[in-house]
């Protein structure tokens, strides 16, 4: 009986393909939007999480300037006092609970090998940097302490730099030019791919801080200090200690704000993840509205269908159909219709999410639960919005329905 009714409704949908399709558009768009949003959303969340763990978890980053807030970083009223070697020294001497402490100064610089050239992120740092950032070497060795101290012209390069200059060849021992100085490659960094913002993390050159300061930056500033917490110390506990030590080292009087900022990467990760969730939620709400519109479309078309088929309803009632038979017939038709829209919507949504995942280089993460929910939800929309028209058909007076032209 139910199968009979489903077949009947498919037939009546097929009879008006164009009309059925237009009716379905609302549902299709709504479901496609929901599926695409949620799938892209969960892909982004995964990507952000992966990126954050690439940045290094349990990581604090100190930079000069006031913490972000009213007036903005650095403020307008004071000259930014850069971080200096003595600040780093104070941290190394007094900070407990840190696994690695490392300075880093960065700049986009033209790097040349032979006739090839490439603009890379060049970082001046020390041998603790790899540990602080959780970076590994594929081959070669890190800077030695003496190289760090004396600022020898040696460097570690990322995968992108290697590919540009050496293809798949071994770069070790080659000399590249960075800005107006040259340095010898002593190691190759493990590939890390792109960040969520499309930044190539492999287009990098690391060199000893002193070499960078002297030959590239032309000053003795430190842009950032990276501090990795050890396994027993949460970053939230480490942060106030860092602040105390630095305020002391930089002689910030108690009545003044700190002239440096400490960023907690774990917090940033959480903030980014929750931002994605909020955005997904908002887009979900928009999609929900379009589902409502789709539902009203279904109601409308079902009312038209009931009116068009008044005579048919009259015939069915005359030969012995009960109210519930007519009700079920139109309810099934509305449900099949909107389920069809839901399925088309799911396919389109997944296709969109697939395209987006390629374009944004995020993982394609379809959720079976979300898809099932969309199927259930579109069926529910058909039932809810089909009910009133179906009831109207079922309540028709058979004599008047038969007289209907």
């Amino acid at each position: 009986m139910i199968w009979e009714t489903v077949r009947l409704s498919l037939r009546s949908i097929r009879r008006n393909v164009l009309r059925s399709f237009l009716t379905l558009l609302g549902i299709v768009i709504g479901v496609a939007a929901v599926i695409a949003m949620l799938t892209i959303g969960s892909g982004t969340t995964e990507k952000v999480k992966a990126d954050i763990s690439k940045l290094g978890s349990n990581l604090l980053v100190v930079r000069s300037g006031r913490p972000a807030g009213p007036g903005g970083p650095g403020g307008l009223d004071q000259v930014v006092r850069p971080l200096a070697e003595k600040d780093l020294a104070a941290l190394v001497a007094h900070l407990t609970g840190a696994r690695a402490i490392s300075p880093a100064s960065q700049k986009q610089v033209r790097v040349i090998f032979g006739t090839e050239s490439l603009t890379s992120g060049v970082t001046g740092t020390d041998s603790a940097y790899l540990d602080a950032r959780d970076w590994k070497l594929v081959s070669g060795r890190p800077f030695s302490d003496s190289e760090t101290r004396s600022g020898t012209g040696v460097c570690l390069i990322g995968e992108t730099v290697r590919q540009q200059f050496f293809g798949t060849g071994d770069p070790e021992g080659e000399i590249i030019r960075v800005n107006r100085t040259s340095c010898k490659i002593i190691g190759l960094l493990e590939p890390k791919g792109y960040t969520g913002f499309g930044q190539d993390q492999d287009n990098v050159v690391l060199m000893p801080l002193h070499a960078y300061q002297r030959r590239i930056a032309g000053n003795r500033d430190i842009d950032n200090i990276y501090i990795a917490a050890d396994d027993r110390t949460p970053t939230s506990e480490l942060q106030p200690r860092v602040e105390d030590i630095l305020r002391d080292a930089r002689r910030v009087t108690p009545d003044r704000e700190s002239d440096f900022a400490i960023r907690d990467m774990t917090q940033i990760a959480d903030a980014m993840a929750s931002a994605t969730t909020t955005m997904t939620g908002m887009l979900g709400a928009v999609a929900g509205v379009s589902l409502l519109v789709g539902g009203i479309g279904i109601m409308n078309i079902m009312l038209v269908s009931v009116t068009e088929r008044t005579r048919e309803i009259g015939i069915r009632l005359a030969i012995g159909a009960h109210e519930k038979h007519i009700l079920i017939q139109f309810l099934v038709e509305a449900t099949v219709l909107s389920l069809l829209g839901g399925i088309i919507g799911i396919l389109i949504g997944l296709a969109l999410a697939g395209l987006a995942s390629v374009a944004l280089t995020i993982p394609f993460a379809p959720s079976p639960a979300v898809i099932l929910l969309a199927v259930g939800f579109s069926a529910l929309i058909g039932m809810v919005f089909g009910f009133f028209p179906a009831l109207r058909g079922a309540r028709l007076d058979p004599i008047e329905a038969l007289r209907h032209e």
Binding site: M1, E4, A318, I319, G320, A321, H322, H325, I399, L402
Partner: protein, 235 residues
Amino acid sequence: MAAGAPLITFDKVWKSYGQGEAKVHALAGVDLAIQRGEFVAIMGPSGSGKSTAMNIIGCLDTPTAGTYSFMGIDAGRLDRNRRAMLRNLYVGFVFQGYNLLARTTAAENVELPLIYRGVAARERRDLAMQALSQVGLVGREHHSPAELSGGQQQRVAIARAIVTRPTLLVADEPTGNLDTARTHEIMELLTQLNTELGLTIAMVTHEADVAGYAERTIRFLDGHVASDSKNLEVA
């Protein structure tokens, strides 16, 4: 039901439409009885209440006042669904305009009442084929109404009416849309169903020669039964 009790009894049946000044009495106190197996023709001028009476006989409608009993059941006081059940079990309808479902094959049209009876698909198909062969339409079962002539469509409608083996066939001007030759074919068929299956038939017609196929003629006038007589055995 006691033997010999009429299949259909009207006891002072009224059917009124509208309110106050505009009130119309389509039936104004009709008394009437039809026995099992009878073939009754109902005649009368337009607006005399024939269709109204047929709708009540077929349990599609209920009287405003008075009692309509069908098979000894007070059918006028049953609710919609119970009357639907009665129609499905005991009544077949044939209309002037055929009233077949468009874009649905002859066989599917005939199967329709069986669906609401919950008959399984196989049995439905067999019964539908049987009914179609009874009305002489073998070979046309997969045609849609649009592909059939008026006479053929009315045969499909008759097959649909008899497929449930009803007790009563209600036919409101069944030949109203047909030419003379087709009219006589349909009337032969109805007569045959009446004599061979013992089907009780109540049929409205405007034509005396069509009424002649019946064994009894009831004439309506302004919502009353004006005359009720046995036909002479001539047709």
